[in-house]
């Protein structure tokens, strides 16, 4: 029993220590964002990389999720004779919830893992030590542009996901099941509020961008300098980011009502 408590205590201490380290890393990242040079070229390049990696899967997944929502929503709504509000159901659930969350998960798996693996490989091949010896701060040159790129790209990709999904819902609801096209869009338009829904959705995506950017760069930066270290940091990035996104989603929804 005492042994068990002891192990539990150690585990908790370990978690708290990790959180402390992440906080320190976040601090040095934010210091890097504020200190010159700003490296806009590197940031743009990284945004481009994240975008290229994620664009196709975000579009395809968005369309697929939208079509499923269209079908399921229609089948449910028709029981109450309310199939004319299909646009509202599809739009609201996407904008408020599914868009940011699913985009967060997809981008984590695609671009977040790649980011962690790239930095971890640089650790394993002494590239970061090489930078240190040239008096270059690796957080500033390598980690900061990647983290910033994630924060910038996530809302954009989430918006793209939502647009594709609304189109998917249109295809399923209007083209396949025969809901009136004007009704679909007017119910969508009248039920979605810009401040409450759209701005909130972008904010959520922004928070998820911060989460993924921070965890991916932190795990890569602190990985063991071996190939096992690279794979461990990649896996950990996906797992930890995904869980964190889902937990944060609850709290953002509960606290801010988005």
């Amino acid at each position: 029993m005492a042994r068990l408590l002891q192990r539990l205590g150690l585990r908790c201490l370990g978690i708290v220590e990790q959180l402390g380290r992440i906080a320190l890393f976040a601090l040095s990242l934010s210091r890097a964002v504020l200190s010159p040079p700003a490296r806009p070229g590197r940031v743009v390049q990284e945004v481009f990389d994240v975008g290229v990696l994620s664009l196709v899967i975000v579009c395809i997944s968005g369309a697929a999720v939208g079509m499923v929502l269209g079908l399921q929503g229609y089948n449910t709504l028709i029981r109450f004779g309310a199939e004319e509000s299909l646009g509202a159901v599809v739009g609201l659930s996407l904008i408020r919830e599914l868009g940011p969350v699913l985009t967060g998960l997809l981008v984590t798996g695609r671009a977040g893992s790649a980011m962690a693996a790239e930095i971890a490989t640089m650790v394993a091949t002494e590239q970061l030590d090489g930078l240190r010896m040239m008096s270059v701060d690796p957080v500033h040159l390598v980690a900061m542009p990647k983290a910033v790129a994630m924060v910038v790209a996530m809302p954009l990709l989430s918006a793209l996901f939502i647009v594709c999904a609304i189109f998917g819902g249109y295809v399923a609801g209007v083209e396949i099941l025969g809901v009136d096209s004007g009704t679909y869009f007017s119910s969508l338009e009248s039920s979605v509020d810009f401040r409450d829904d759209v701005a909130g959705s972008l904010l959520k995506a922004l928070v998820f961008g911060v989460v993924v950017g921070l965890i991916a760069t932190y795990r890569g930066y602190t990985s063991e300098p071996t190939s096992a270290g690279v794979s461990a940091s990649t896996t950990a990035t996906v797992v930890v980011s995904s869980v964190t996104i889902l937990v944060f989603d609850y709290f953002i929804t509960a606290l801010w009502g988005v």
């Binding site: 790239e118 640089m122 091949t125 002494e126 590239q127 030590d129 090489g130 930078l131 240190r132 010896m133 040239m134 008096s135 270059v136 040159l141």
Partner: protein, 262 residues
């Protein structure tokens, strides 16, 4: 074991202890690298040559002991002080450590942009010169993965040299090079030592070039080091040290017994 103190130590280590888990690499290491001299680190694989260079660069903290570079303490220095110290150092890593997402040109430009804050036309000119010096003309736009092992070594050396540091730390600059290139790199290192007064600390397994270049040798063994001029070590009382430097002095039975086994 204790080396006689040198008149002007550029890098100084005192009582350095370092262990990785249960593997004790250094156990009270004392050594000096004199200003403007060429010192070669020798020692078997795993004797701690790379580790010693990383300690001097502040990439690794010792468990105990003091390390001073140009009179500045490395151990326990702040981020800002460490940056000041590293501005005096150039380091070539055993594996090259070139950034693999950047071309050779961009790799060489990094220390000039970030450390010396030079302007682009000057940077371009300096890079041309430096690449020519290591025999890598025309490779500016290649990525590290498009280079051979020996070319990576030379590009890494060029990157370490290009900011003209006071002290150059080189981890095995000659491994994987053909004999002609070895001579060329040797001449280049001797020249920067001569003309810029650069202190060179090299690690090497290449005994012939070591004996040609070195002012002093530092043989790492048993957690400590034996220092001396090449002549002193070639005629050292300890047979293990003589054998390390002079293959002909290896025990005569070694070849014979190998032959009889095969």
């Amino acid at each position: 074991m204790d080396p006689s103190p040198l008149p002007d130590p550029h890098v100084q280590l005192r009582g350095v202890r370092l262990a990785f888990g249960r593997r004790r690499v250094f156990d009270g290491l004392d050594c000096d690298f004199e200003r403007g001299s060429i010192c070669v680190l020798l020692g078997g694989s795993g004797s701690g040559k790379s580790t010693l260079l990383r300690l001097v660069g502040g990439l690794l903290a010792p468990d105990a002991g003091r390390i001073a570079v140009a009179g500045q303490e490395v151990v326990g220095s702040s981020w800002r002080e460490l940056r000041e110290i590293r501005n005096k150092l150039g380091m070539m890593f055993q594996g090259g450590a070139l950034l693999d997402s950047l071309s050779v040109y961009q790799n060489l430009a990094l220390p000039l942009r970030e450390r010396l804050r030079m302007r682009e036309p000057e940077i371009a000119a300096r890079i041309q010169l430096q690449l020519a010096a290591v025999g890598l003309e025309g490779t500016e736009s290649l990525l590290p993965r498009q280079l051979s092992g020996g070319m990576i070594k030379r590009a890494a050396l060029a990157r370490a040299l290009i900011s003209e540091p006071e002290i150059l730390l080189c981890d095995e600059p000659f491994s994987g090079l053909d004999p002609l290139t070895v001579h060329r790199i040797e001449a280049l290192l001797l020249e920067v030592n001569e003309s810029l007064g650069m202190t060179l600390v090299l690690s090497s397994h290449h005994i012939p070039s070591t004996l040609r270049m070195a002012d002093r040798l530092l043989l790492l063994m048993d957690g400590g080091a034996v220092a001396g001029t090449p002549q002193e070590l070639l005629h050292h009382g300890d047979a293990r040290i003589r054998e390390f430097l002079d293959e002909d002095a290896a025990p005569a039975g070694a070849h014979a017994s190998r032959r009889s086994h095969s």
